[in-house]
């Protein structure tokens, strides 16, 4: 197992780098999109709220693989889009739907009196949302957000299907050459753990703090 890792060090490390990069891009992207759609969902405006709901329900209920393949095979006919970006975009849209639901639950857990109080004191809806409600909502939502991030890192293995050069892709290539998939995939699993375990511990820490 260790020899497989050292023999293919540069390959594994480049896979690790691509997984980390895809996860980071998808994390930032899905946080922005997720928060945006969470707010859309709870807006008093019916049309915008339905739009937000539709987005969330579509991307939450289509398999990640289907979304990714859509970018890789269909969209790439019109706009040149690589496997890495197909996977990262798919991952962003898919995760953003879950984050929207998490953030929405966070916002709705904040007493409605806070919004009324903020508006009564002269803040606009946007100001009240960004300065009073959202900071509190994120604190409430943080443990389940961390959970979504762990899922995001694991789901990034979708890149392997579209030749996105991530850990799983490199493991497939290495296993195809050394005919030792068992040990190769163990190394891949450990590399994923290196990213996800700290996240997991951080989440436990947060849960203890909020309890």
């Amino acid at each position: 197992m260790t020899t497989i890792f050292t023999d293919n060090l540069s390959t594994f490390l480049s896979g690790f780098g691509y997984t980390l990069l895809a996860s980071l891009i998808a994390l930032v992207g899905s946080m922005i999109l997720g928060t945006l759609f969470a707010i859309l969902e709870i807006l008093p405006n019916k049309a915008l709220s339905i739009f937000g709901h539709t987005y969330v329900e579509i991307f939450r209920n289509i398999p990640l693989l289907v979304i990714t393949m859509f970018f890789y095979i269909v969209i790439s006919n019109a706009i040149k889009i690589s496997g890495f970006w197909s996977g990262t975009l798919g991952l962003t849209l898919y995760t953003s739907a879950f984050i929207a639901e998490t953030v929405r639950a966070g916002i709705q857990s904040i007493d409605s009196g806070q919004m009324e109080g903020a508006r009564a004191n002269g803040l606009s809806y946007g100001q009240a949302m960004s300065r009073i409600i959202l900071p509190q909502a994120f604190v409430v939502a943080l443990p389940s957000l961390a959970n979504q991030f762990i899922n995001l890192v694991k789901n990034s293995s979708i890149l392997a299907f579209v030749a996105g050069f991530d850990i799983m892709y490199q493991a497939n290539v290495i296993a195809g050459l050394n005919f030792d998939p068992f040990n190769t995939y163990i190394v891949a699993g450990i590399l994923y753990l290196i990213i996800t375990l700290p996240l997991s511990y951080y989440m436990q820490h947060l849960e203890k703090k909020s309890a």
């Binding site: 890789y72 095979i73 269909v74 790439s76 006919n77 040149k80 690589s82 496997g83 299907f161 579209v162 030749a163 892709y169 497939n172 290539v173 296993a175 195809g176 050459l177």
Partner: protein
């Protein structure tokens, strides 16, 4: 390890115990049981409507059977059994089949396990590209910015590093996915055995074979190991099929409409 060793020993003992001369067996049973593929277009493919196997390998198996019957002046019929890449050697060793015509490349490792005839098909790695592509051969791929697609786990992938070290290689799960990715413009060319590419080129209009083979991995018919009489009979039959034009007729029958392939170069 120990379990594997014991299992290997047992398997070896078992196959040695029933080692019979294949040539005696076919004369006695008046048939040759051939292992053929059922999933390889143009070589061995099950026609789902008729349930019959069809392809170049299948026709070669039938023709060789006929020729041996004629040479030996005996009655022989060809029976076809579906084999997979992983099962065919074991089936030969267990005497479930007498011979194979199943897109099998002649290699040193395999020669320890089975006996091969002379090559009957000039297989080798080749390239499939879009019809209007400017790629003429593997040399054109050897520059930065070029991408070649292959199926993961095939020898085609490491070979690419040797013939075109500058090309970027994308490995996808299987041939179907590789073909889809090529169509979606994710790569400039698809590489694997010419035999597989011929099938893909025929099924996908707008794509063609270019540059011929850049590796030499010919296919041979195979029997269980240590079968000199059967191999000699098969080689003789192959020679005669080449001489009497049957071989060339079969090449024309199966490969004359593969886009980009000059099928005459396959004729002998």
């Amino acid at each position: 390890m120990i379990v594997l060793g014991v299992w290997g020993g047992l398997a070896k003992g078992a196959s040695e115990a029933k080692h019979v001369d294949t040539f005696d067996r076919i004369k006695e049973q008046h048939r040759i049981v051939w292992g053929v593929k059922a999933d390889t277009r143009l070589f061995g493919l099950m026609n789902t409507k008729t349930g019959e196997y069809e392809g170049f390998d299948v026709d070669i198996a039938r023709a060789v059977t006929k020729q041996i019957a004629k040479d030996q002046n005996i009655k022989l019929k060809a029976e076809l059994v579906q084999v997979s890449s992983s099962s065919k050697i074991q089936l030969l060793k267990n005497a479930n089949i007498d011979a194979t015509a199943s897109v099998m490349t002649i290699t040193k490792e395999r020669e320890n396990q089975v006996d091969f005839t002379q090559p009957y098909f000039p297989a080798g790695q080749s390239l499939l590209v879009k019809e209007n592509s400017d790629i003429r051969s593997v040399k054109d791929l050897n520059q930065p910015g070029r991408t070649v697609i292959g199926a993961v786990g095939t020898t085609a992938i490491p070979t690419m590093k040797e013939f075109a070290p500058k090309v970027r290689v994308l490995s996808l799960a299987d041939y179907a996915q590789s073909m889809t990715a090529l169509k979606a413009g994710q790569g400039d060319a698809l590489t694997t055995d010419n035999a597989i590419l011929y099938g893909l080129a025929q099924q996908n209009p707008g794509y063609k074979i270019v540059g011929g083979n850049f590796t030499n991995q010919p296919y041979g018919l195979a029997t269980d190991n240590d079968q000199p009489r059967m191999i000699a009979a098969m080689n003789k039959a192959l020679d005669e099929l080449e001489k009497n034009g049957t071989y060339n007729r079969l090449i024309k029958k199966w490969f004359s409409n593969v886009p980009g392939l000059d099928w005459r170069t396959l004729q002998k």
